[in-house]
């Protein structure tokens, strides 16, 4: 079966995000080749998005996951850094892991959102929505034109 090229080349590790913790030890167990970085800077020079790849790899080695997520945000997953890497790393996959760890565990959760979802599932807006659905176009147009727009 034809899988994605990176998996075949073993450049992309397979993991379950919900069972990870946001720590350097965890990143190293998923991508042990991180230690093989030779600091040759080929990755930074090849990046079409002008990301300082070598810098964020060294941030990863210091366990600064938030920093990595910030610095690698413009990555567009072209894979040129992994292609050129003399140590056999795939920096863009490492950065993706760090971003996902940061987004899931380190960013403060939005409590208002979860409350709101619970309200919707509880059926708070069901009545109003079903009313609107049955409404005539003329009435709907009136409501649309009269809606208040928050400045």
């Amino acid at each position: 079966m034809m899988l994605k090229r990176e998996i075949v080349l073993k450049k992309k590790a397979v993991y379950e995000l919900s069972q990870l913790t946001p720590s350097l030890k965890q990143v190293l167990t998923v991508y042990p080749e991180l230690l093989k970085c030779q600091v040759c800077n080929k990755c930074t020079m090849s990046c079409p998005q002008d990301i300082n790849v070598m810098e964020y790899i060294s941030h990863t080695l210091h366990g600064e996951i938030a920093e990595v997520a910030d610095k690698s945000f413009n990555c567009m997953m072209c894979g040129l850094c992994a292609e050129r890497c003399s140590g056999g790393l795939a920096p863009y996959h490492i950065a993706l892991l760090c971003r996902r760890l940061y987004g899931r565990y380190l960013l403060p959760p939005s409590h208002d959102l979860s409350d709101f979802v619970a309200e919707i599932e509880g059926g708070r807006f069901d009545k109003e929505l079903s009313e609107l659905k049955k409404m005539e176009v003329k009435e709907l147009r009136r409501r649309y034109n009269e809606r208040d727009i928050v400045p």
């Binding site: 939005s110 709101f116 979802v117």
Partner: protein, 703 residues
């Protein structure tokens, strides 16, 4: 930097800027408006729209290009295809790798189905990746799904399908929650509340974003999750025909290998989710568009042939301000905010011709009229456009306003060395979005059993007018729903014998309507890229349809050594690194462009990869490492700089051998004809008294 051709018009425009700043151009009256629109708007152009003569939507109107596609012949000859055995057998087959497709695959897998995802180009070749807008979701105390519903249905001119809109606004907050659990990084305040902005046509602050590249952020997280779950992704394999079974259910698809163009693959699937994206690259009435290279309405054509109903096919949305210069950005829409800040239009004589805050229809028509009357500005590529005077914003609101208010547009032009706070933008009306598509219900099911659809290929959610930030939401909500529904349906469905009966019926129907000589569909690749010769209707008819036979791949074209022998000899005799010139002589290049060389017409790019192999093998650089400090670059050109004042190149030709971009034929020539000389010459050099003795070195090293 503006090229010479535009300088003259630009100077005239700058001359009249002061006058235009003071001038209050009057709004035109209702009567004038309707005349203007009737005469110029693309919706009213004669022959732009025509009637569908056959198929499930017989009698409906659609753009000419789309009608031709929908009424096309199949690429597959049903009589030669063997469907007794198949190559893959899965529960859910997802076609398309954009936001909707990837979400559908993931959601089907969550619901316990065996999933496979196929896509026409690479995984990241999708419109979602390019999308710069945000995602709407009501989650603030002053907001509710009800207001979101009203905004959406009013924006769509009340032609939206209520069920679909309701589902979309109700699911929106949980979609954000789901994406967050996948690890998407949304813009947030320090305490975790989501930061929201106004969007097009929203009455509340409801648009979430992720530093302006939300589409990419979502797709790369989905991609990672797909890989982790081991869902197979098959790339460069477009679907060319659907398979049905004997009770007219969809039961799989036939795919073709886009690289060899011969090898076909059959997949049996219990359910199929179409998420093939939009149709911008059909270029209705030759308008530019912002869609991805592969947006060719493939899914629409496939579903139409099986008999799935479509709707609102004539609801095409144009935007008055699409960029037409520089060439790389053609078709990209410019936000209305630019005009609201005070940028006005000007033609090539520097005159204002329309009030800059009219509705989109009026502006589109006025810009087209102006270019038709010869007042347009011609770009070097031959397109006509109108100036949108952005420096006016700086004059009105003070310097630095553009960089502060419109950072993304400013930065994008900056990459092309254009400073829009000093130079105006050239714009022309461009195709923005086609609101029509396959008709679905709230679970993503089409009118054909086992066939589901999600994303841009569907119609009805946005009515006749899309609000930009609802687009991504639509894809993800219906991707999730279609994936779930498809997985659940796959548990109970029993497929009959596989056939291509619908293709036979379609052929008969075309013949009856007198349309059998129509072009082929799906087209897969835009006309301008194929030059009408690469994709042929007789692909699978002329050659025997032998499945999975290991065909010889088309060889890369290489330069014929006889043609270039004299000049190659001269290069090899010169005492400078020969790699750069040998590379320029080669016909192929292992460049990024070559990866896309699926059609024969793409020229292998001549730019150096910059891999640095030639720098690494050069013996002179190894002997004198301080030379490396001259430049940071590692290209073949840099090698020449590094060796600029070297007394003589060793002429070992190691750089040619090491370069991945030099043709093999040249390498063979160098090895067979030149290497013997080189070796004998190096041999004699070792014998020289001036050179240190190699054996001595080795002895020293060993001791």
């Amino acid at each position: 930097m503006v090229p010479m051709e535009l300088k003259e018009s630009l100077a005239r425009m700058e001359f009249t800027r002061e006058k235009r700043l003071k001038e209050d151009y009057p709004q035109i009256s209702e009567d004038e408006k309707s005349v203007l629109i009737k005469q110029n708007h693309p919706d009213f152009v004669d022959g732009g729209v025509c009637e569908l003569l056959t198929g499930p939507n017989k009698g409906d109107c659609a753009p000419k290009e789309l009608v031709e596609l929908l009424q096309g012949n199949s690429l597959v000859d049903p009589d030669v295809v063997d469907l007794e055995s198949v190559d893959y057998d899965v529960d859910v087959l997802v076609v398309g790798s954009g936001g909707a497709g990837a979400t559908a695959a993931l959601s089907a897998h969550e619901n316990g189905a065996k999933v496979m995802l196929v896509t026409k180009f690479g995984f990241f070749d999708s419109d979602t990746v390019k999308f710069q807008g945000g995602i709407q979701a009501a989650c603030k105390p002053n907001d509710s799904p009800v207001i979101h519903y009203l905004d959406t249905i009013g924006g769509g001119f009340f032609d939206n399908i209520p069920d679909l809109v309701e589902v979309m606004v109700r699911d929106a907050p949980s979609v954000i929650q789901w994406l967050e659990s996948l690890g998407c990084i949304f813009d947030k305040e320090a305490d975790g509340t989501l930061r929201t902005e106004f969007g097009e046509g929203t009455s509340r602050k409801r648009v979430h974003n992720a530093r302006g590249c939300l589409g990419m952020e979502i797709v790369r997280n989905l991609y990672d999750e797909l890989c982790n779950r081991g869902i197979p992704v098959l790339e460069y394999l477009p679907v060319i025909e659907l398979i049905t079974d004997d009770i007219a259910q969809v039961a799989g698809a036939i795919l073709i290998n886009l690289e060899s163009k011969k090898e076909a693959i059959r997949i049996r699937a219990k359910t199929l989710v179409l998420a093939t994206g939009g149709d911008g690259q059909l270029h209705y009435q030759e308008f530019p568009c912002a869609d991805h290279y592969g947006a060719m309405a493939d899914g629409l054509a496939l579903a139409y042939r099986v008999g799935a109903k479509s709707l609102l096919l004539d609801a095409i949305q144009y935007i008055p301000t699409g960029i037409i210069f520089p060439e790389q950005m053609v078709g990209q829409p410019i936000d209305e905010k630019v005009r609201r800040l005070g940028a006005k239009f000007a033609n090539n004589r520097g005159e204002q011709f329309i009030y800059h805050l009219e509705t989109d229809d009026v502006l589109t028509s006025a810009i087209i009229r102006e270019c038709k009357n010869g007042f347009g500005v011609k770009t070097p590529k031959g397109l006509n456009g109108i100036w949108l005077d952005t420096p006016m914003i700086e004059v009105l609101h003070g310097p630095g306003t553009i960089q502060r208010e419109l950072p993304s547009i400013y930065n994008e032009f900056k990459t092309f060395n254009i400073d829009i706070s000093k130079e105006p933008i050239l714009v022309y009306s461009s195709h923005y979005f086609s609101n029509g598509g396959i008709k679905i219900d709230s679970q993503g099911a089409t009118s054909i059993p086992n066939l589901y659809a999600a994303g841009k290929v569907c119609g009805g959610v946005h009515g006749r007018h899309l609000l930009r930030d609802n687009l991504l939401l639509d894809g993800i909500v219906f991707g999730r729903r279609a994936g779930k529904a498809a997985a659940e349906r796959a548990k109970e469905v029993k497929l009959g014998k596989l056939t291509l009966e619908h293709v036979r019926k379609w052929r008969i129907e075309l013949k009856r309507s007198g349309l059998e000589k129509r072009s082929i569909s799906p087209k897969l690749i835009p006309d301008y890229a194929t030059h009408g010769k690469v994709i042929r209707a007789d692909w699978l008819r002329r050659e025997r349809f032998e499945i999975r036979k290991e065909e010889e791949r088309p060889r890369l074209k290489e330069v014929d050594i006889k043609e270039i022998e004299p000049i190659l000899n001269e290069i090899l005799d010169t005492s400078a690194p020969p790699v750069a010139r040998a590379r320029l002589l080669s016909k192929r290049g292992l460049s990024v462009d070559n990866k896309l060389d699926i059609m024969e017409n793409v020229i292998g790019a001549k730019t150096c990869l910059g891999c640095g192999n030639c720098n690494d093998v050069c013996p002179i650089v190894a002997r004198e490492p301080h030379r490396r400090e001259r430049t940071q670059e590692r290209t073949s050109m840099a090698l020449e700089t590094i060796l600029l004042d070297a007394e003589e190149c060793d002429r070992c030709y190691a750089c040619i051998i090491a370069c991945p971009q030099v043709d093999t034929s040249i390498k063979y020539y160098v090895v067979n004809r030149r290497m013997i000389e080189v070796i004998s010459w190096l041999d004699s050099r070792i014998g020289d008294k001036d050179e240190p003795d190699l054996d001595l070195f080795i002895e020293e090293a060993l001791s």
